[in-house]
């Protein structure tokens, strides 16, 4: 359910405002009303810095995960200093990598020529000997050139021949050789370049070690700094939302407080002599939303969060869709073996990772329902228990549902889901607009349930034809008048009738489409059973006759196959009931949404 909120307004003398904000933060219950949506440039810079810091923390924590760094590491004044150093290191690393890159490019030019000293070349130039470094493709190189000129082949690799031409004049022209290019070599020797590269690489590894050490030792300081930045951002936002009144002498801040916290807050405010006004929200107010649910429904709030929060006036649908979601998941996965794996894995993980309690509890429920549905449909790791010849299962087979009945069951569950949604719509509309507005929905409910009952009773022979027809007509008249004549208490009957006709068209097409959408549950359930069966058959038929390899191959095929099926079917079983909830159920329940989460201005607690 949605926690009701009260609107609080505070009027504070400007000189006392900073101290007041501090106390407000300590009390930590006020959700500050957002009046100005545009953030100031300072706030935007702060937000940018905060987001950059979060990214840095994320990448550092990945770095420091497996590294073992001995020693204590250098001390830093605060998180800001750590971050500054990290940014310096990253800038230096980038620069050094670039230098290494350009050195490598130069070195690559020299590699075919080997290591020689450019100084020697200079000396030889002084003596009147000029070396030209020439390259051509192997096919263009003519060994006859070696006879005609002072030429030495240096290397022939990668399809290219490198050779040196010795000339006695400076700037002499090259012979007219096809496909031959001259390369201008760097003024340094290969060994010099490699030495410099090595030095740079040593620098880089030193800087990386420093980053690792920071990641191991200073991550806590960085995280504390990030928390400080967030706190600063929150305070800046609150100041931004504060209004100045009475020629800037008085500050006005408004916000929302959950009703259960009111008593405690009032006592605190009275104790600190702070002036306040508490009032109920008006119809136009955009009140923040805080959900409060029992232990079972609470784990499904994370699924509801995938879509939208309800607005503060309407019904919270989480506790209502929770059991159906669970049911549909079990239906779609529909294999007792897979359900058992999910259940056991969730129980095991709950001990290993207590932080993920809520999600793992959800997984446990979903696994449990899957086991139940798998048992009901007689599927265990793809083995069809209904067809199988297992003695002790015989008396249970009577309870198992086969495929034809499964199709009908999916549609029946869908109908129940939709009808339940419509009942909730009656409640929703009554809460938000008034009971009189829900006549149309009541009419539809009456029509569907009443007609269904009348038809069913007639078919079963529980009532005679005439009574059945009488009831049917009664239902039609009653529901028809509700749908077509009384659908909106403020409009005239004529407008209601026309609008009602349009509503009939929308409802008929909508309902049929919605109902058929539930067939996906049947399709998903059948496909997971089929895939499990296929892998079982594959494992049986492809096992070699060898005593050792036979079972080994079989087990590998089973593990890989069932693993893949569990993942694919599990994903489908997770996503499609979500779609059914948010599209079919929410639509029929008249969900409007658009609620904003309740986030009080408070000290951040230490996790």
């Amino acid at each position: 359910m949605i926690v009701p909120m009260m609107k609080y307004s505070f009027l504070v003398y400007h000189a006392d405002y900073k101290a007041f904000l501090k106390e407000l933060k300590q009390m930590g219950v006020l959700h500050v009303q957002v009046k100005k949506q545009e953030a100031t440039p300072e706030m935007q810079d702060l937000l940018r810095a905060y987001n950059d810091l979060l990214k840095t923390i994320r990448s550092l924590s990945v770095r420091g995960k497996d590294k073992v760094v001995s020693g204590e590491g250098p001390r830093f004044a605060d998180g800001a200093a750590v971050w500054q150093r990290i940014r310096e290191i990253e800038a230096e690393l980038e620069q050094k990598q670039q230098q290494i890159g350009s050195l490598e490019k130069e070195a690559q030019l020299l590699v075919p020529w080997g290591d020689f000293s450019p100084e020697r070349l200079e000396d030889l130039k002084q003596s009147g000997l000029y070396f030209r470094f020439l390259v051509c493709r192997d096919k263009y190189f003519d060994p006859a050139w070696e006879q005609e000129h002072y030429l030495q082949k240096v290397s022939a690799e990668g399809g290219f021949t490198c050779f040196v031409l010795l000339q006695r004049e400076a700037g002499a022209s090259l012979p007219e050789w096809e496909g031959v290019d001259e390369t201008l070599l760097p003024a340094r020797s290969l060994s010099d370049l490699r030495k410099e590269q090595k030095a740079l690489e040593a620098e880089v590894s030193r800087l990386n070690e420093e980053l690792d050490s920071l990641a191991t030792h200073q991550l806590g300081q960085l995280e504390a700094y990030a928390a400080d930045l967030k706190s600063e951002l929150d305070e800046a936002n609150v100041l931004h939302q504060t209004q100045s009144e009475v020629e800037d002498h008085v500050r006005l801040i408004e916000g929302w407080v959950p009703q259960p916290k009111m008593a405690g807050l009032n006592a605190e405010l009275d104790r600190r002599s702070i002036l306040y006004v508490a009032s109920r929200p008006t119809d136009d107010d955009k009140v923040p939303v805080q959900l409060k649910n029992n232990r079972f429904a609470r784990v499904f709030e994370s699924i509801g969060d995938l879509y939208e929060l309800p607005n503060h006036k309407e019904l919270d649908l989480v506790p209502f869709f929770a059991p159906f979601y669970m049911l549909f998941f079990g239906f779609s996965l529909g294999d007792a073996g897979y359900g058992l794996i999910i259940l056991l894995a969730a129980i095991f993980m709950k001990y290993k990772v207590p932080k993920m309690r809520s999600i793992l509890t959800l997984a446990q429920w979903l696994g449990l329902v899957t086991v139940v549905f798998g048992a009901l449909t007689g599927t265990f790791f793809g083995i069809d228990l209904i067809e199988a010849d297992i003695a002790w299962l015989d008396k249970w087979k009577a309870y198992m549902i086969d495929t034809d009945k499964l199709f009908n069951l999916a549609l029946i569950l869908g109908m129940i889901h939709i009808l339940f949604g419509m009942v909730l719509k009656v409640v929703n509309v009554s809460i938000t607009k008034g009971f009189a507005y829900s006549y149309s929905t009541i009419g539809w409910l009456l029509l569907i349930v009443g007609s269904g009952l009348a038809y069913g009773l007639r078919e079963l022979g529980a009532v005679s034809e005439s009574v059945g027809t009488y009831v049917q007509n009664g239902v039609l008249i009653a529901s028809g008048s509700l749908i077509l004549l009384f659908n909106d208490p403020r409009r005239s009957i004529v407008m209601n009738f026309l609008s009602g006709l349009w509503d009939v068209y929308g409802m008929v097409t909508g309902l049929v489409g919605d109902l058929l959408s539930y067939i996906r549950l049947f399709a998903l359930g059948v496909s997971s059973a089929i895939l499990g069966f296929v892998f079982n058959e594959l494992a049986m038929s492809m096992r070699p006759d060898n005593v050792i390899f036979g079972p080994l191959v079989m087990i590998i095929i089973l593990l890989v196959g069932h693993g893949m099926t569990l993942f694919m079917a599990g994903l489908g079983a997770f996503v499609h009931p979500i779609r059914l909830t948010f599209v079919e159920f929410y639509k029929n329940a008249g969900f409007t949404g658009g609620g904003k989460r309740y986030t009080p201005f408070a000290e951040k607690s230490l996790d």
Binding site: S59, V62, T403, I519, R520, F522, A523, L524, V526, S527, I530, L531, F533, V534, E537, L538, M564, M568, L571, G572, V575, H576, I578, R579
Partner: protein
């Protein structure tokens, strides 16, 4: 022409088209992964997962063949025209739907991979969105199952 020919043409379409679809889908996602790795090599796990996702339609095609051959035992030399046309119809359905759904699912995955490469944290949501085209391949497989069950 013997009826078994029509049945096996259907099987060929089922396995061939669905598998081809998976090839297109996984390749599109794989190509996007190579590009994304240049920008963000840390996301390889997500890339792998999203690239593997369009591969399931080929599996459905194969599963459909298995259903017809082993589970329902329809592919016998003395199959009737009635059963052969059912197999052909099922094969066409699974093959065609598998081809197109995998092709487009691969594009959804590729877009998601590119977004992850650019630094957006969208792996989970892309996974959810990519499941929707696959539903129709699942429905086609279920239809093939129902067709087989109806004719044996």
């Amino acid at each position: 022409m013997e009826p078994i020919v029509l049945a096996y043409i259907g099987i060929g379409l089922m396995v061939g088209l669905a598998g081809t679809g998976s090839v297109f889908g996984c390749s599109a996602a794989g190509n996007a992964s190579v590009g994304a790795m240049k920008k963000n090599p840390d996301g390889f796990g997500s890339y792998l997962l999203l690239t593997a996702l369009p591969g399931s339609q080929g599996l459905y095609g194969f599963a459909g063949y298995f259903l017809m051959s082993n589970f329902f035992g329809l592919l016998t030399p003395d199959i009737t025209w009635f059963k052969a046309s059912a197999v052909f119809g099922a094969g066409l359905a699974v093959g065609l739907v598998g081809l197109l759904s995998s092709y487009h699912q691969g594009q959804v995955c590729a877009n998601g991979i590119a977004a992850i490469g650019s630094g957006h944290d969208v792996a989970g949501k892309t996974l959810i969105l990519a499941v929707f085209p696959e539903l129709y391949a699942i429905i086609a497989l279920a239809a093939a199952y129902m067709i087989g069950a109806a004719v044996i």
